[in-house]
Symmetry: C2
């Protein structure tokens, strides 16, 4: 190991699909549905909630739930959300990440 840096442990890890496909692809893609804006919103809402030291929100490649995008998965809970709108982010952060209650109305069925 070449570093003395000790990474922090995460309570929750939020992955937002930012995969991009060519226009007209039959599965669509999350990037074209505004998912990069969602990443920014999750980061800012997590920070505002005082969770920056224990929650990480970040980009991910294709989560393979394109038809439900923009899609998001929260680990280690394994809770999948989609489609997520900018207005949903505050609710996910407050209910799920702060209070531990997943937002059932936004969950991807079957995941």
């Amino acid at each position: 190991m070449t570093s003395n840096i000790t990474p922090k442990k995460l309570k929750s890890h939020v992955f937002v699909c930012t995969n991009e496909r060519a226009a007209g692809h039959p599965r669509g893609c999350c990037k074209s549905k505004g998912s990069e804006e969602l990443v920014k919103l999750f980061k800012s809402e997590v920070a505002s909630a005082g969770l920056a030291s224990e929650v990480r929100a970040q980009k991910a490649g294709c989560l393979d739930t394109c038809e439900f995008g923009p899609s998001v998965v929260v680990y280690p809970d394994g809770v999948w959300y989609g489609p997520v709108s900018p207005g949903d982010v505050t609710e996910i952060v407050k209910s799920h990440l702060v209070e531990g209650k997943p937002v059932d109305r936004l969950r991807i069925p079957g995941k």
Copy 2:
């Protein structure tokens, strides 16, 4: 919901950091250390192990463990690996994803 597709449930979800930074950045980056090759290897090894229906391996943005890259996290277990070499992938798939035994020698300390 605009689709009748029912996504599959995942037993394990492998995220490989493929973040890229400019050459010379003090934290380095996983892409420059060959992480895109790791994504391909994970996908092929997962398929070869017959796990394609229950394990997904994919790209992720920065996992914020740059100093230990190429870095990989396996959820829902929350097991972090790094640095991962191409030769380590078969062992992670066989030991961790097939047999359920994380590869302790490759774990990122403190995560």
